[in-house]
């Protein structure tokens, strides 16, 4: 199958892209194309206009301002993976990116595309959820910032209006001594995760957990944080019952069923991966 007919636009500035999006009917934004192009090839989507963001240079690149990292929406996944500062400040990002498709698709795929496409199994929204990232959105009418917890509105439906463009995502890396882990189960290397788990654990001088973040992808429509488990881990002894309590919370999440895995199977895997991710993050934090 081939892409359906559409009119192609390749604006050079964000302002021009926003003007197009504000005036055209049935327009689709093209970022890295690693999800949209298959949908076009199979004619799952039939846009009248495709607005290509690949020549909008101002949307690409990573900036580190003081304590905050800001990645432009068109920053390639491969660029994030190779970025030495990011690898130092948030090593979990590289660990998760290794699971995002294959290096050939990461050469094109973008962080903004991952967030806007919002596949339930996508790893990057899960990592961004760990950091309580903020997604920057613009339209011809103005700009707004959406906290990641308010980002998912349903199956592959982000909190984004038809005339809006994701311009960037920003987050604050953890400063304190901490460990990380990103684990996922997929049928083959590079496939969509059946379940993926990201975990950050910060320890105090006595190796007691003082901050925790656990997020899961592939279970619900968007990334899910295990808020109660995180709360319980803080200040408590990090032992087998504590890990099991977090795993039990993961097993109680409402999990979707699809062609590849039932909800019950996902719940079971979620528990296993949460326990493993916690252990790994804790060991790394202790160093």
């Amino acid at each position: 199958m081939k892409p359906p007919p559409f009119i192609y636009h390749d604006p050079r500035t964000l302002a021009a892209a926003l003007r197009l999006l504000g005036t055209l009917d049935n327009a689709k934004l093209l970022a890295g194309g690693q999800s949209l192009a298959p949908m076009l090839n199979f004619r799952y989507v039939l846009p009248d206009h495709v607005v290509d963001l690949n020549r909008v240079d101002e949307l690409a690149g990573v900036r580190i301002d003081g304590r905050r990292i800001r990645a432009g929406a068109m920053t390639r996944q491969r660029a994030l993976e190779k970025d030495a500062s990011l690898a130092r400040l948030c090593p979990i990002l590289r660990e998760a990116l290794a699971e995002v498709g294959h290096f050939q698709t990461r050469n094109r795929g973008t962080i903004g595309g991952s967030l806007a496409h919002l596949d339930p199994a996508a790893e990057l929204p899960g990592v961004m959820a760990l950091y309580d990232a903020e997604i920057e959105v613009a339209s011809a009418k103005g700009r707004r910032t959406v906290p990641i917890r308010d980002w998912s509105r349903g199956y592959m439906t982000p909190n984004l209006e038809p005339d809006e463009i994701v311009t960037a995502v920003s987050w604050e890396p953890w400063q304190d001594r901490h460990g990380h882990a990103f684990l996922e189960l997929a049928r083959r290397r590079g496939d969509f995760a059946i379940v993926g788990v990201g975990c950050l654990l910060a320890l105090d001088a006595r190796d007691v957990v003082k901050r925790a973040a656990i997020s899961l992808v592939g279970v619900a429509y968007g990334p899910v944080r295990l808020a109660a488990a995180e709360e319980r881990l803080i200040g408590a002894a990090f032992d087998a019952p504590a890990v099991e309590a977090a795993a039990a919370e993961a097993r109680r999440l409402e999990a979707k069923s699809d062609l590849y895995a039932s909800g019950a199977y996902r719940q079971r895997i979620a528990g296993v991966l949460v326990a493993r991710a916690l252990q790994k993050a804790y060991e790394r934090a202790r160093g």
């Binding site: 892409p3 359906p4 007919p5 009119i7 192009a37 298959p38 199979f42 294959h102 698709t105 290397r189």
Partner: protein, 160 residues
């Protein structure tokens, strides 16, 4: 029909064509330029057979529009050998180590591994396997392919 004129370099040669903007790069290479070495297996980015190099980076040519290659440098499997036909070290290793059976995945394997070995000239076997995780061999001939990649890496290190 929405059309555009594009100019790019393909295997070292300048090319200018008017194309439909919905045409993906793989179809442009195969149908407009007759470079049928680039194969199409799945057309949704899973099989890797259509992998080409765009500005030196391995990408799926079925997931990129030809119009997006305007001004870029594209190398297909036809462009890997020297102009006089001498095979690249990687191609020669595929021949020596029985790295191809039916040959359908071969163009994607070669372009993928060409880009990979440039970045990682001394890979472990596990790294080679990871690099070709996005290239499906329907003959399941991975053992020969991995062996060829490792042999080519060794040969290239010795030559450099």
């Amino acid at each position: 029909m929405d059309k555009r004129a594009i100019s790019l370099t393909v295997n070292g040669r300048p090319v200018t064509r008017e194309i439909e903007t919905r045409r993906h790069l793989a179809d442009f290479l195969r149908h407009d330029l007759g470079l049928t070495g680039t194969h199409l297996g799945c057309e949704h980015g899973v099989c890797g057979a259509c992998t080409v190099l765009v500005d030196g980076e391995a990408v799926r040519s079925c997931l990129m529009l030809a119009v997006q290659a305007d001004g870029r440098e594209v190398v297909t499997t036809e462009g890997l050998a020297a102009p006089d036909g001498t095979l690249s070290a990687l191609q020669q290793a595929f021949r020596d180590k029985h790295g191809l059976q039916c040959g359908f995945c071969t163009p994607g394997m070669l372009t993928t591994l060409t880009a990979f070995l440039r970045e990682n000239p001394d890979p472990s076997e596990a790294e080679v396997r990871d690099a070709i995780s996005g290239n499906l061999c329907r003959c399941t001939g991975y053992a020969g392919i991995v062996e060829a990649a490792l042999a080519a890496a060794k040969r290239m290190r010795e030559q450099s």
